[in-house]
């Protein structure tokens, strides 16, 4: 009787797990493995079916100048967005953590960009960046300065996209910092105040180190987002001009659905996944030992 019931318990367990397992396998594990396998096959066409070519796609990738350009774009994009948005997030969180009139309104204002879809954000910023009639050019003209085609110039397009992304992300990260700040006991600040510690000193000596767990979490998210978030490129630049604002994930999309080369897209995807895994592990192991968790 006992063995029967414990056997039934296993069946129940598996039955309960099955829906989640099916979803995970069908939409995460199977596609990952299939992508990995596809990256070792050639592109199929009407006259030539796909065949195994080993690391041929990877060799082609290393010789693809656009791949390198896109990879470096992504690097600059990450370097441009992550430190700035994290710094702004901390400053905003410190500001709205103090009791001041209109605090609720300010918090909401800072958080609003986060709840907008990326496409909507891109549309808003398109109004800012559009030459001649865009907000920025109108202001510049009002000041007697000449306008600029921010998104049409290869020198400024990546910067323009970075600014927009920082605007979108900082509010999101602020929420995590605000939550962490509200967990810090008020007496710590009072104890420091009695010793005459300035706000600046207290921030660097106490607040910032105690926020490190949050910073790690935010950094991992920020790095992932810098590779994941490309929706705005569809609206703003389509990766142009001359791939000046193209990012890895958008390049993968182009290969798969514009150039109809799913195998090369798979190759790039494998590289992207490997890159993200390495970055996450690095952050985790390098930062983790320096972080104080309560």
């Amino acid at each position: 009787m006992r063995s029967y019931s414990s056997g039934m318990r296993h069946v129940y367990g598996w039955l309960l797990l099955t829906p989640a397992a099916i979803l995970l396998i069908a939409f995460t594990h199977y596609p990952t493995i299939a992508t990995f396998i596809d990256s070792f096959f050639s592109k199929s066409s009407a006259i030539r079916p796909s065949r195994f070519i080993g690391v041929g796609n990877y060799e082609a990738m290393f010789e693809d100048p656009i791949f390198w350009k896109v990879l470096f774009n992504n690097l600059w994009f990450a370097l441009g967005t992550i430190p700035t948005s994290v710094a702004i997030a901390i400053v905003m969180a410190l500001l709205v953590n103090r009791s001041l009139p209109g605090q609720g309104f300010l918090r909401m204002a800072y958080f609003t960009p986060t709840i907008l879809p990326m496409i909507a954000v891109a549309n808003i910023w398109l109004f800012f960046y559009t030459p001649e009639i865009g907000l920025i050019d109108q202001i510049l003209q009002g000041l007697g300065l000449s306008g600029h085609n921010w998104l049409g110039d290869p020198d400024t397009v990546l910067g323009a996209v970075i600014v927009m992304t920082v605007w979108k992300e900082a509010g999101f990260f602020m929420i995590f910092y605000l939550a962490a700040l509200q967990h810090l006991p008020k007496e710590l600040e009072e104890a420091a105040k009695l010793e005459g510690a300035s706000r600046w000193y207290f921030f660097w000596r106490v607040t910032f180190p105690l926020l490190m767990p949050t910073t790690l979490f935010v950094l991992i998210n920020a790095v992932l987002n810098s590779f994941k978030l490309v929706d705005h490129l569809f609206v703003l630049t389509k990766g142009g001009p001359d791939n000046a604002s193209n990012l890895l994930l958008y390049y993968i999309y182009e290969n798969a659905f514009s150039y109809f080369d799913p195998n090369y897209a798979s190759t790039l995807t494998v590289v992207l996944l490997a890159l993200l895994a390495i970055l996450a592990l690095l952050q985790f192991f390098l930062l983790d030992r320096r972080i104080h968790y309560r």
Partner: protein, 338 residues
């Protein structure tokens, strides 16, 4: 002379007067306990002295200097918080010398003061531990060391023992008292525990609803409580308060006396006296607390050793009229003996 004086201190939270015209003086090198039930404003007074809150009116004087509007760091006070306020990511050493670093004390002097303070509270072996690796008592010692190392003449303590268990509490109470005397600190100590107040204080400031009820040495408060509240707040079990009319034998001395107070330890079992019913017996070893019923009044009596009575038994009790306290209808003291 680094005494502390507060004059007519008022602190308001919206419509609520947390501190309502409080004045007292703590002279140099003494231990003053601010005692009262929760919500009486005692912690707020301490924070006003520290400069962590600012008063609506009134003034705070430290060493005869008016510091009412001064920066907390410039008031020559150190403070121990109820939660200890240790920096969780810093080890014991860095926690203790945090203030010295802020004040840019030279490294050599810092080290010397650190070692001296750590030794005083018995932390010298634990300097590289993080607060999370310490017991409650050890954390309390770190907080003490941080206050000692600051070398400030005035030390403020906000319920420093309330997070400790009873045994540790007694131990730390003694240690704080010893430190206060050895370092000749002017200490202001906030607590709701009358045992702490009785055993440590040179002066007790008893508070209720933001106002001072009575100021004096522990023995003064115990022997001549100014109100029924003071009479019942100090001493365990609290003083018995009876309407005068139910104790006919002892009435008639003072017309305006409405309430009679008698401490439980002054009640004696005797052959002649007021007959009462034993309602409960709490045997504590060295003493026994009897809960007695007399008409609709409840009394507590503290008898040495084990009382030879049984539940429900009728006993006669008696007390020396000189041990009675008389209070008027509003609970204010009228006289001490009859």
């Amino acid at each position: 002379m680094s005494g502390v004086r507060v004059e007519n201190l008022v602190k308001q939270w919206g419509d609520f007067r947390a501190v309502d015209g409080v004045s007292f003086e703590a002279s140099q090198g003494t231990l003053t306990v601010l005692l009262g039930p929760s919500g009486c404003g005692k912690s707020t007074i301490l924070r006003l002295i520290a400069g962590l809150e600012f008063a609506e009116s009134g003034s705070v004087l430290i060493d005869n200097q008016d510091v009412t509007q001064s920066d907390p760091a410039k008031r020559s006070v150190s403070m121990v918080f109820q939660s200890y306020a240790l920096f969780p990511h810093l080890d014991v050493r860095e926690n203790i010398i945090f203030g010295l670093k802020v004040r840019k004390v030279p490294a050599r002097e810092r080290e010397a003061r650190l070692l001296k303070a750590a030794e005083m509270v018995g932390l010298d072996q634990l300097l590289s531990r993080k607060p999370a690796q310490l017991s409650g008592g050890q954390r309390q010692r770190v907080a003490l060391a941080r206050a000692i190392v600051a070398n400030q003449p005035v030390c403020l303590m906000d319920e420093p023992l309330s997070n400790l268990d009873a045994k540790l509490r007694a131990e730390m109470r003694e240690e704080i008292h010893r430190l206060q005397r050895n370092l000749n600190l002017t200490m202001i100590y906030v607590t709701h525990d009358q045992t702490e107040a009785m055993s440590m204080a040179d002066q007790v400031v008893l508070l209720k609803d933001g106002q001072i009820v009575q100021v004096g040495a522990p023995a003064d408060l115990y022997d001549t409580p100014s109100t029924v509240f003071a009479a019942q707040f100090l001493g365990t079990p609290p003083m018995n308060i009876l309407p005068k009319k139910v104790v006919p034998t002892f009435s008639g001395n003072t017309e305006s006396v409405d309430l009679l107070g008698i401490r439980p330890e002054k009640i004696k079992l005797s052959n002649d006296g007021i007959p009462m019913i034993v309602d409960a017996i709490d045997y504590m070893g060295a003493e026994t607390v009897l809960r007695l019923l007399y008409e609709d009044q409840r009394l507590m009596a503290r008898i040495d050793g084990k009382a030879q009575v049984s539940l429900g038994e009728s006993v006669s009790v008696n007390w020396d009229p000189a041990d009675c306290h008389g209070f008027d209808r509003n609970g204010n003291r009228i006289c001490g003996s009859f």
